[in-house]
């Protein structure tokens, strides 16, 4: 136990801030925004002890806090972080004040409600990353939807209602199926442990013994995994569940897009890392080839579609599909390089895509258009802006020296290691990684995604920034204000910091990633000889077996 409950403070501070802001008079526009920035800045500072106090050598959850909540169903307030959640929480608290500052001029209509929504969202996101109890996780996970739904729907663009309802329904569809799967896991756990059990770490044990009837067999696991995976795949979003994303991004206000891209999409990948993979390792191994294929399709498809977008924001949205494909590919490798690269890529994508959306927002505020064709030659008019935009673009492409390079490189390195494992005698390949020429082809295709990424980003950059100034309106654009520079500067700092010296970030998650890989690979090995075939009928029987009937209950 810690003397100061840092983690709870970090979770609760934005909530408290939201209550304070909710009590203010709605006409006090500047005060409300200023308070929002203040709260999230304090939030960032009180999250620093999490980073400094974290012991990267320990695989255990740290900063654990445990308070009984609803004992009879095993739901408790149990939070704690490992290296992976630490990085994502730091990303969230880091971007919080930046996002809040970015709404200064952008949000005029009911700023109070907007600030309250952002603060609530912050609590929900950090809570999701920190939850160590499945019930708590689900509560925060769902709670996240409400503020985001309002942010897109109230402050969004012309088609905001369509976009936000689509976003909500897609996400809820996945979540509700996951809820049913949670029930089944819960029931199995209650039988196995003899008491209601929803602690995530204990639930990992359910997968180990495939021979024992009380544990989850492969066929049950597969169904449950699919339910969890669907919820997370929608969120990531993986091809072909991504169609809500361009709509949501294009319609959302800048701050909404930034949070959506930087943190909310990570919920999907984090969900895989925290729940879908370790809860159902054998099922993951069964479905990993499919996920690898979808990830690579996402990489290529996202890049190709991004290339032809006339709208900068939509281009960035599709680039997310491509980048998140790398993250998913990294997870499939199940080796230290690939998974570390994948987690780092989550952070990187949050930084660079977040910054890209901020930049698009800045230029939109000036011109009220996001069409590439409406720009051209901006570099001459806005030199400071150009420098920032260039750096962020290069980071998104993955130029060596920026953060994007480290993440993508590690992911591809990890993937190549698994793909070539059996050709070059590199030891056993990761559980479930598609082997042989198929795997090699996939990885080679994924690598071409890096090239495509450079193509669409640089081409967009060239059309927007260089050439003659063809539009009269563009001749007198203001360059970045001090506030805007302050918004972008910290992100730029992080881009270079991770790009030049990634060691602290990699070390923070090293042990946690190793633990995940070990859990996954050893569980799959333990259940060998794994038969990848699915026995649907067995699964249905396992799910449908009634263990109590009314006839026995009645007097």
């Amino acid at each position: 136990m810690y003397i100061v409950p840092w983690l709870t403070l970090v979770i609760a501070l934005p909530l408290g801030g939201a209550l304070v802001v909710a009590l203010l008079d709605r006409t006090e526009d500047k005060l409300i925004k200023g308070l929002g920035v203040t709260f999230l800045t304090i939030e960032f500072f009180i999250s620093i002890p999490l980073w400094t106090g974290f012991n990267p050598a320990s695989p255990a959850l740290q900063f654990v806090e445990y308070h009984p909540w609803i004992e009879s169903i095993g739901a408790h307030y149990h939070v704690g972080i490992d290296g992976i959640s630490l990085l994502l929480i730091m990303l969230t608290t880091f971007l919080g004040p930046v996002v809040m500052l970015s709404i200064w001029n952008a949000v005029e209509k009911s700023a109070k409600e907007f600030v309250v929504c952002l603060l609530l969202l912050q609590t929900a996101m950090i809570g999701t990353f920190a939850a160590a109890n499945l019930f708590l996780f689900y509560v925060f996970w769902e709670l996240m939807l409400i503020p985001m739904y309002l942010i897109i729907g109230v402050w969004g663009g012309p088609r905001r209602i369509y976009a936000t309802v689509k976003f909500f329904l897609y996400t809820m569809f996945g979540s509700l199926l996951m809820l049913v799967a949670i029930f089944v896991v819960y029931k199995t756990a209650a039988r196995t442990f003899g008491a209601p059990m929803l602690e995530i770490a204990r639930l990992y044990e359910l997968s180990f013994d495939a021979g024992n009837a009380a544990f989850l067999g492969l066929s049950t696991q597969s169904l449950l995994f699919l339910a969890f995976a669907l919820a997370f795949a929608v969120k990531v979003p993986m091809f072909p569940f991504h169609t809500w994303l361009p709509d949501a991004h294009v319609e959302a206000p800048t701050a909404g897009s930034v949070i959506l891209a930087a943190v909310l999409l990570k919920m999907g990948t984090y969900g895989f890392v925290r729940l879908a993979m370790p809860l159902f390792p054998q099922a993951w191994a069964t479905f990993a080839p499919m996920i690898a294929v979808l990830a690579v399709i996402g990489i290529i498809y996202g890049a190709l579609v991004a290339m032809v977008q006339p709208d900068i924001k939509k281009l960035v949205a599709y680039s997310s599909v491509s980048h998140l494909g790398f993250v998913m590919l990294g997870l499939v490798t199940l080796n230290a390089m690939g998974v570390q690269g994948s987690v780092l890529q989550m952070v990187n994508h949050g930084l660079s895509t977040g910054a890209l959306f901020l930049i698009v927002g800045m230029i939109y505020e000036r011109r009220h258009t996001r069409m590439i064709a409406d720009f051209g030659g901006i570099a001459r008019v806005m030199p400071i802006f150009t420098v920032f935009f260039m750096i962020v673009t290069l980071s998104s492409i993955g130029l060596p020296g920026t953060n994007g390079f480290i993440g993508e490189f590690l992911v591809l390195l990890g993937a190549y290691r698994e793909a070539f494992a059996r050709f070059f005698d590199l030891g056993p390949a990761a559980a479930g990684f598609p082997g042989g020429y198929f795997g090699v082809t996939l990885v080679v295709l994924a690598t071409t995604g890096v090239i495509f990424g450079a193509v669409y980003m640089l081409w967009m950059f060239q059309r927007v920034m260089f050439g003659p100034v063809t539009h009269e309106e563009n001749k007198n654009l203001r360059d970045l204000s001090l506030r805007e520079i302050i918004v972008l500067l910290p992100i730029l700092g992080m881009i270079f910091m991770i790009g030049l010296y990634p060691t602290p970030f990699l070390r923070a998650m090293e042990t946690s990633v190793d633990r995940l890989n070990q859990h996954m690979n050893s569980s799959v090995a333990a259940s060998a000889p794994a038969s990848p075939a699915l026995h649907g009928d067995v699964a249905v029987a396992a799910l449908g077996a009634p263990d109590s009937s009314l006839g026995e209950d009645a007097p």
Binding site: S72, F183, K187, D547, S548, A554
Partner: protein, 485 residues
């Protein structure tokens, strides 16, 4: 054999007696005071009566047993549901005071009927023989028929009351026919003795017995508006004054479910194989029909009517899967549903003025800008009805569905979950209209008067409290359901 008065256990039914007495007192105020002066008195007296009844019920929460020689039973189960009903009735009274004040009518008989309806519901929770069940249902139903018609000069209200009465009378007929058949087959009206007769294989006419059981089931499904006997609900909900609709959605439903649980677990527990599949199909149909038909509704009250049909479907899941597991889930759900539904009807009451109840959803466009507090309450209720954390509705659904999974029924939970997904669409629509559309025009919204404010705040507090700290009520519900066995 002589019986002394104490053997009737009048002391256990004091809450019911208090509510009854309050009803008569309210009627007297109509006689003895001038019309104008009686306005506030009737409402406050009603509240006072309900308050005393709540306190008395609390005082009696530990005791229990058979009263009136087995015809009536006081136990933790009945007490639990009575609480829900009384709190629902109290909130309804607060809303009614607002509603009638805005129409410059305060008829004492309205409050008296409200109290009589409450007595009927309370009696239904403890009814331990078939005759008491029938009497309680009739006390409740007749009061509700008149309450529905309390806007006398309104055509749609009269039509709704007529419909409610005709179909209600029909369902009562079916019910009483069923009771008669069961009585004929077993020779007893006491629920326990029916089960005993079955256990002793003393039923001479098993076919009559089963038909009677089926008819009783139909009667209950009518009362909770389950498919295919749901047709009356949308029209009646739409026509009735908003607070009465709220009372019908929560109180009548809670009482009917309590009675159904008691009758079917105590009297017909051994025949579960016969009626559980029926309820299974009814639950599935109710969930699907309620949710899908709600999508197309433009009228908020109609939408809430279909939503209440859908919620009845979720509750019926609890009946299909064995009470020990899901009985407590049903009880919890009923309380949560009381708060979230009355919150929604409270807002609806607050905004309505005169003849126009502002019940068309498009009329609500942009009210978040003019009335942020009202819109926030409505949004909270919608999120809770949709089952999104951290509201009471989420935990209630979570626990109910979980209990069904525990009983091994994954399929019905999948259906219910998909039904919930559909329901998101129409609940969210209200929020979309309130928050995301520009104010359309001339709709004039009232604010909340003080009594209604208390009622709405109580609902909000209930929604949040049960969403965040469900532990206490859950433990109570669990212990309550055990007294049935």
């Amino acid at each position: 054999m002589t019986t002394s008065l104490s053997q009737y256990r009048f002391d256990w039914v004091m809450p019911e007696i208090v509510v009854c007495a309050a009803a008569f007192l309210v009627l007297l105020t109509g006689v003895y005071s001038r019309h104008k002066r009686s306005r506030p008195i009737a409402g406050w007296l009603t509240l006072g009566g309900l308050g005393i009844a709540i306190a008395w019920t609390w005082y009696l929460r530990g005791v229990g047993g058979d009263a009136f020689f087995g015809a009536y039973r006081v136990d933790a189960f009945a007490t639990f549901v009575k609480f829900a009903i009384l709190i629902g009735a109290a909130i309804t009274t607060l809303l009614s005071m607002d509603y009638w004040q805005n129409r410059a009518v305060q008829a004492p008989e309205y409050y008296a009927l409200l109290l009589f309806a409450t007595v009927g519901m309370m009696l239904l929770t403890g009814a331990n023989d078939l005759m008491t069940v029938f009497l309680a249902i009739e006390i409740m139903s007749f009061s509700v028929y008149i309450l529905v018609a309390s806007r006398r000069d309104d055509q749609s209200a009269t039509e709704a009351a007529m419909k409610c009465f005709m179909l209600g009378a029909f369902s009562s007929g079916v019910l009483v026919y069923g009771l008669a058949l069961v009585y004929g087959a077993t020779g007893t009206l006491l629920l326990k003795d029916i089960a005993a007769a079955h256990a002793a294989a003393a039923i001479t006419e098993p076919l009559l017995f089963k038909i009677g059981m089926g008819m009783i089931l139909v009667g209950f499904i009518f009362k909770v508006a389950g498919v295919p006997f749901h047709m009356w609900a949308p029209d009646v909900y739409q026509g009735a004054p908003a607070p009465v609709t709220g009372l019908m959605a929560v109180g009548v439903k809670a009482a009917a479910f309590a009675a159904a649980i008691r009758v079917f677990s105590v009297a017909f527990g051994a025949q579960a194989v016969d009626w559980q599949p029926v309820i299974w199909w009814v639950a599935v149909l109710t969930i699907l029909v309620g949710n899908f038909l709600a999508i197309t509704q433009d009228n908020l009250k109609r939408m809430l009517a279909y939503s209440s049909i859908a919620h009845a479907g979720y509750l019926l899941i609890g009946l299909t899967t064995g009470y020990k597991v899901s009985g407590s889930a049903i009880l919890f759900y009923l309380v949560a549903y009381t708060f979230m539904n009355l919150g929604a009807f409270g807002v609806l009451t607050a905004v309505s003025r005169g003849d126009d109840e502002l019940e068309n959803i498009p009329q609500w466009a942009g009210i978040a800008q003019k009335h942020p507090a009202l819109a926030a309450v409505m949004a909270l209720c919608m999120f809770s009805l949709a089952g999104i954390p951290p509201t009471a509705g989420f935990f209630a659904k979570f626990y109910l569905f979980y209990s069904a999974i525990q009983a091994g029924d994954v399929l019905i939970v999948l259906i219910a979950v998909l039904g919930s997904l559909v329901s998101l669409y129409y609940y969210l629509r209200v929020i979309v209209v309130m928050y995301m559309q520009e104010p359309a025009g001339d709709a004039v919204f009232g604010g909340l008067s003080n009594p209604a404010r208390v009622g709405v705040l109580a609902s909000v507090a209930g929604i949040l409290y049960l969403g965040l700290w469900p532990r206490g009520l859950l433990a109570w519900a669990e212990s309550a359901i055990h007294t049935l066995f």
